[in-house]
């Protein structure tokens, strides 16, 4: 009897009495929507659907890739961000991403889009599928030991929760954005992947001063780096004797001798616990 009460509140039930299966489907929608609407958020009706993700991917490549890159990781020189990290941002939701696609971001180069609701949810579902597969991996080490290891080996160059160095990337929430394997690789073989914004360079000035750093920006006539003392420095190339782009990261390699497997697990547990 309660079910009938809910149904009769919907205006489109007034004239017709639909079949039972349709009623059940609509009831389910009503039950899903009412609490969600009460929270002011729409629910993604295509959540986790592989077909929706695939369709969203096609739409993405046709409509979004010009700015965000075919792999959604952003394009150097365009201010459109890497979208593979969207859900690692605090307070993120499918509904918020939907709104951003629909309304754009005022004052930026992200325009509003007149896709249908279904198309927009497909895009949301596709973007959600791009996050790391095992972002919920569990780590079995000792967080306390991991904290000490981090302070000793990492915090000089990496920010974590607002404190630490700036030579390497901010590691706050890193375990929600990167797979276990990629984190291990970054620690054991830091040179394996050199990320934009942290590519190494060695400059030699006309006074024979050698400066190592990471490249923040570069054009034909100038280069902007962060040096080992974590200062931002800009140079005109005509003031330099030599520029050299090493293959090795500025980050030291942590092999078994300097960080054994048990210590590595402790460190990863600490990073994941943040």
């Amino acid at each position: 009897m309660q079910k009938l009460k809910i149904m009769t509140k919907q205006p489109y039930f007034v004239t017709a009495v639909p079949g039972i299966t349709v009623l059940r489907g609509l009831l389910l929608t009503a039950v899903l929507l009412i609490p969600a609407l009460a929270l002011g958020q729409a629910v993604n009706p295509l959540d986790s659907s592989p077909r929706a993700a695939a369709a969203g991917g096609s739409l993405f490549r046709a409509q979004c890739a010009t700015c965000h890159g075919a792999d959604a990781r952003g394009i150097a020189g365009i201010q459109a961000p890497d979208l593979t990290q969207l859900w690692s941002q605090p307070g993120q939701s499918d509904s918020a991403v939907f709104q951003t696609i629909r309304n754009g971001i005022p004052g930026s180069i992200m325009p509003p889009h007149a896709f249908t609701d279904t198309e927009t949810w497909m895009l949301v579902t596709y973007l959600k599928s791009l996050g790391p597969a095992d972002s919920m991996a569990s780590y079995g080490g000792d967080r306390g030991r991991g904290a000490r290891l981090f302070d000793k080996n990492c915090s000089g160059c990496h920010l974590l929760n607002g404190s630490g160095g700036a030579l390497g990337p901010d590691l706050t929430g890193i375990a929600t954005r990167r797979s276990r394997q990629s984190l291990v690789t970054s620690i054991r073989e830091p040179g394996a992947v050199l990320v934009r914004g942290y590519r190494p360079v060695t400059l030699v000035t006309r006074d024979n001063l050698r400066i190592d750093g990471t490249i923040k920006s570069e054009d034909a006539f100038s280069i902007q780096i962060m040096d080992r003392k974590q200062s931002l420095r800009g140079f005109r190339k005509k003031d330099l004797a030599r520029l050299h782009y090493p293959d090795r990261s500025l980050m030291p390699e942590f092999n078994q001798a300097t960080l054994n497997d048990s210590e590595l697990e402790d460190l990863l547990s600490y990073l994941a616990g943040q």
Binding site: G107, L209, S217, R233, R236
Partner: protein, 543 residues
């Protein structure tokens, strides 16, 4: 024999120094400017560490490489573009400079660290702003960073205060100043003094209540708050009706940077209009501390003295101006003064220790009032309802002026306009503006001017007129130059003695409220003024 030993010793000294320098290369990280560095103001010519360059607000640089004789050769060396839209107002910021890096805030809460040698960015910040901004959506601007150590501080259009790591633009902490949905936003450049970040708030066109806050730079905890509109029963409340609702929406925004006297330990800050702007019937009384200059104890935020420029404002003549502090001879005796060019058309000199009024003279043709009475109150002749008084944007506005010591000239951007005000009781809806009437502005009659005032009399020493009422700010340099911007996009240099124009460059966008800065880099003096969506650096040709 002795000579060769001397030579060997000297070589050893040189080697030792070189070694020390090399060791320094791989040694300690740069810590960024301390409070003592900011206190020294322009002593290090490679830096511009706070909104006005130093705490006095004079915006007067000691640099002399660019002179009246060679300024005509100034040329652009690079241009930076923001890539964001501006809704007609564009850059209002003052860049901060340290160690060859510019720290710049822009429209829509974008911000950058930019290489001062090439104009290329090290990093960019963009805030995910809510899409239901109130005051912040009509004026999506920002006037600059504050800096301390390796931290930058910026306020936002959704009324937050952020701390950044200046090396990579990452947020260190984020605190809410007020609820933007009521009508608040924040746009000013924070003032950083010893262990305090001091900020104000915007919202005087909405049913809001203004304040000046001090925050701990390390944690973002609030240390003190000064309410510009008193609460019921508090000092100043006798200048309002006895109605908490009226007080709660009293206005009094504090949306510009302030000045600081470290010896007196006083902060000087301008306060904005009472709300509603044009309709005064429901707020009889002087409405303290709206349209005032307040002097606060820097440690506690307590009010030491105030001076109200425009009691019971009906014309939206906020007093959010840079207070300019100077130590000058006044009537034959040394005096510590604070000077303000006010939106109401008057130029004021006050004793900054006591608040005593020393001078108050009009610097425009305003018919609103022509003199102050013996108590320092304006004798109002025409409140605007009878036509042709300065428009709501006023005889000057927040664009910084400059003081030229020695010549004792106060140089500001003046606006001559003609407006009629028609008040009407507004509806008060949180999140909606409540101006309380309309203003009819006669567009044919307006013009602008760069004016140099003799501070001892308020008399005009010289002026350079602009075709329209303008918003550009002013800077002076010790070589005898005045730099300014105008409404048609010109960045200009003038002779401080005569006002003769010596150089100009068309930046392509009206210059709104931004003022010039200058600094040394690789032995060259750079000057610049942010304009619209661009920032261009100028210098003399390299030899």
């Amino acid at each position: 024999m002795n000579k060769s030993i001397d030579r060997i010793y000297r070589k050893q000294q040189i080697l030792f120094v070189l070694f020390a320098l090399m060791a320094g290369q791989s040694g300690a990280q740069q810590q960024g400017p301390t409070y003592e560095d900011i206190l020294q103001g322009f002593a290090d010519p490679q830096r511009w560490l706070t909104y006005s360059g130093d705490y006095s607000g004079k915006r007067h640089s000691p640099l002399e490489q660019i002179t009246p004789a060679n300024v005509g050769q100034l040329r652009p060396i690079w241009t930076f573009q923001t890539g964001t839209t501006t809704r007609g107002r564009g850059f209002e910021t003052t860049p901060l400079v340290d160690n060859g890096v510019l720290y710049v805030t822009g429209s829509n809460n974008y911000a950058w660290a930019i290489d001062a040698r090439s104009g290329r960015a090290f990093w960019q910040y963009r805030r995910n702003l809510p899409d239901d901004l109130t005051y912040g959506s009509s004026a999506p601007v920002n006037r600059g960073f504050g800096m301390l150590g390796n931290q930058l501080f910026m306020v936002t259009l959704d009324a937050h205060l952020l701390a950044f790591d200046r090396r990579n633009g990452e947020i260190l902490w984020d605190v809410q100043l007020a609820d933007y949905r009521v009508g608040y936003a924040a746009t000013l450049a924070p003032l950083v003094i010893d262990d305090k970040v001091i900020v104000g708030i915007s919202g005087g066109e909405y049913a809001t209540r203004g304040f000046i806050d001090a925050y701990d730079p390390g944690t973002g905890e609030r240390i003190w708050r000064f309410n510009t509109i008193p609460g019921p029963g508090e000092p100043g409340s006798e200048t309002w009706p006895d109605d908490p609702e009226v007080l709660a929406r009293g206005g009094g925004g504090t949306w510009m940077n302030g000045s600081y006297d470290p010896d007196l330990n006083l902060i000087y800050w301008g306060v904005g209009n009472p709300n509603p702007d044009y309709f005064g019937d429901l707020r009889p009384g002087d409405n303290l501390y709206s349209n005032s200059l307040v002097a606060l104890d820097a440690d506690t935020g307590e009010l030491r003295w105030h001076y109200q420029f425009t009691p019971h404002d009906l014309n939206d003549w906020d007093s959010n101006h840079m207070p300019v502090l100077a130590d000058i001879q006044w009537r034959g005796l040394p005096r510590k003064v604070v000077m303000v060019g006010n939106r109401n058309g008057f130029f004021y000199v006050l004793d900054r220790a006591t608040g005593d009024l020393l001078l108050g003279e009009p610097f425009t043709a305003t018919s609103w009032a022509r003199e102050l009475d013996a108590q320092g109150r304006p004798i109002v002749l025409n409140d605007g309802s009878e036509g042709c008084v300065p428009d709501p944007w006023g005889s000057t506005n927040f664009m910084p002026p400059s003081f030229y010591p020695g010549l004792d000239l106060f140089i500001l951007t003046a606006r001559e306009t003609c407006a009629t005000y028609v008040p009407e009781e507004p509806r008060y809806v949180p999140g909606q503006a409540s101006f309380g009437g309309v203003v009819f502005i006669d567009g044919e009659q307006g013009y602008g001017a760069l004016r140099a005032l003799d501070v001892h009399s308020g008399d005009l020493a010289w002026e350079f007129t602009y075709p329209s009422p303008t918003f550009g700010g002013v800077m002076t340099t010790a070589s005898g130059l005045v730099f300014a911007g105008d409404h048609e996009g010109n960045f200009m240099a003038f002779d401080v003695n005569t006002g003769e124009n010596l150089w100009h460059y068309q930046t392509g966008s009206r210059i709104w409220g931004a003022a010039p800065i200058t600094f040394m880099l690789d032995g060259r003096q750079i000057v610049m003024i942010p304009s619209g969506t661009t920032l261009t650096a100028f210098a003399l040709p390299e030899h």
